[in-house]
């Protein structure tokens, strides 16, 4: 009887193990295939069409039908809206996260946590829609421009990354041991001195990760900014100018790009570039976390 049970347990265990192993193997294979495919297609612009990487990265003219594949307007657009989002949403998000962890009454903090996590999950099309119906008309009325452009996209992105940054910043502050709070206060420090001189420095790697993942969220966002950016494939000259980003340009042109054409290859190269940026951000997160421990 005992032996029989043991055999059953062994059988169940090996079945479970096999399932887990095959699921992991499937996952790893699909990632490798995806990376390989994107790399293969994303480099055709340079290997098959013989365009230069230099032109792709730095030329301001994107007109693949006439053979010009400069993606600089999109790269700049992506960098600008992401930079705007992190410059506005980063400090604001960190401040709110620190507030919820350290200063808000516990009941308020407990109620806000799930609310913020719901905000993280709001589909980007909803943010884009609100930007299109509220923000664009507002900016149009205030400035006399079309309302579409870098400013609108930057504001929408700032709001989008805010819940992510707040939630991660709050988590980073909460894992700071309570003993550090008590230690500082027991020396006659005020709450603010404790926060600014002990807790925030102690949580700095976690706070840095919150900002980096905010950047990752912003740089990869397509739909919300495509809806408010104006989508002009030129280098913008001001905040109110229409522009394009790497992501929004892929969304705009993918439908019309003929299989195997220079246009399609250029879009693949942009996708590959986005992947490289996202991957380097993740590597940066690993680096920050490892250096902290």
């Amino acid at each position: 009887m005992i032996a029989g049970n043991a055999n059953n347990a062994h059988r169940n265990e090996s079945v479970a193990l096999a399932l887990l192993k095959s699921a992991s193997a499937f996952f790893i294979v699909s990632i490798v295939v995806l990376l390989g495919y994107l790399t293969f297609e994303g480099t055709k612009l340079f290997t098959v069409d013989h365009k230069s990487i230099f032109e792709f990265l730095f030329s301001p003219t994107f007109s693949p039908d006439t053979g010009q594949v400069g993606a600089a307007p999109f790269i700049l657009g992506s960098l600008f809206v992401t930079g705007f989002a992190i410059a506005v949403g980063g400090p604001f998000g960190l401040a709110v996260g620190v507030f919820f962890s350290e200063l808000a009454p516990p009941r308020v903090a407990a109620a806000m946590k799930p609310a913020i996590e719901v905000l993280v999950g709001i589909p980007s099309v909803v943010y884009g829609w609100l930007g299109l119906t509220l923000l664009v008309p507002l900016i149009r009325n205030m400035t006399g421009s079309t309302g579409f452009g870098l400013l609108s996209a930057g504001i929408v992105l700032s709001l989008m990354i805010l819940p992510t940054v707040i939630s991660l910043a709050e988590d980073a502050m909460r894992v700071v041991p309570n003993s550090l709070r008590e230690g500082s206060l027991a020396l006659g420090a005020t709450r603010w001195e404790t926060i600014s001189r002990v807790l925030v420095p102690a949580a700095r790697s976690g706070l840095a990760v919150a900002v980096i993942l905010g950047i990752a969220r912003a740089i990869g966002e397509a739909l919300a900014i495509q809806m408010v950016l104006g989508n002009s494939p030129t280098i913008p000259h001001g905040l109110l100018n229409a522009a394009s980003a790497l992501t929004s340009e892929i969304v705009m042109d993918m439908g019309g790009a003929i299989q195997g054409s220079v246009t399609q290859h250029a879009l693949f190269s942009m996708a590959l570039l986005l992947l490289l940026i996202a991957m380097s951000l993740i590597v940066l997160v690993k680096f920050v976390v490892r250096r902290a421990t």
């Binding site: 020396l187 420090a189 005020t190 001195e193």
Partner: protein, 260 residues
């Protein structure tokens, strides 16, 4: 009051009157009264969960930080109630420092740990900060071990060194009273004896109140001893009285090992 502070003894530094402490509806301390003599070591003993840590944390308003905790009664410091509405708890904690059960150095350099208090209290000059650091580290018997690596992280120190660093950090703000909540419970015997020697030195300049789970430690280092049981302050006396002729049957049972 019977005990170390009666009959023309040392001046009374702190006086606890009718203290009750609640966590929500649970009463952790019941009607405690105690006089704490200046320049003496007062030890709080009792089995786990008897309220001695709760009691000591009420002496510098650390319960202000615990959600749901409530302190009733008066705690007088030089005749002034630290729970009076007009009193700023930050000032109270400046005058009454605390060393915790687990060493809690800040993730900063050894130097920055020691000068943290003086800096927030307004000391700016680097020269003065260096002097305070050396003086405090010497007073905490740590100077010789760390003088060549003041800029190294405090987290690289051993557990015993970290705890002495935390004591140095408290000394640097020059409090009048130092509260210690089982400061040696996480340390090995050698580190523990260094801390005990240090406490003997500290009472010359400071008033020390210490929670300990070790009766031997209380007997070695304290002048008067307070016995707690189930949230009640059962007996106060000079340490020799408590350990040789306790008046209360429950105290006797505890010190002779009949409670855990």
């Amino acid at each position: 009051m019977i005990g170390a502070n009666g009959r023309g003894g040392p001046r009374e530094k702190m006086k606890v009157e009718d203290m009750n402490v609640f966590y929500g509806s649970f009463q952790a301390i019941k009607d405690a009264n105690l006089n704490v003599a200046e320049h003496r070591v007062t030890a709080l003993i009792g089995p786990s969960g008897c309220g001695k840590s709760t009691f000591i944390r009420a002496l510098n308003r650390m319960h202000d930080l615990t959600p749901g905790a409530r302190v009733e009664g008066r705690v007088m410091l030089d005749g002034e109630n630290i729970y009076a509405p007009s009193v700023d708890p930050v000032t109270v904690r400046h005058r009454i420092g605390m060393v915790f059960q687990r060493a809690n150095p800040f993730p900063k350099s050894i130097f920055e740990n020691v000068v943290y208090g003086p800096k927030i209290h307004g000391l700016r000059s680097h020269k003065a900060l260096v002097e305070v650091a050396e003086k405090s580290l010497r007073a905490a018997a740590l100077w010789d071990e760390v003088k060549d690596r003041l800029n190294r992280s405090a987290l690289d120190l051993s557990g015993g060194q970290q705890q002495r660093l935390c004591i140095a950090r408290v000394l640097a703000v020059e409090p009048e009273v130092i509260l210690m909540d089982e400061p040696a419970s996480a340390l090995d015997p050698i580190a523990t004896s260094k801390i005990e020697d240090l406490i003997g030195e500290l009472k010359r300049r400071y008033t020390v109140v210490i929670v300990t789970h070790s009766m031997q430690q209380a007997a070695r280092i304290s002048d008067s001893t307070v016995f707690f049981l189930l949230g009640e302050l059962i007996e106060v006396g000079t340490t020799s009285e408590i350990f040789t002729r306790p008046k209360d049957k429950r105290t006797e049972d505890y010190i002779t090992g009949r409670y855990g």
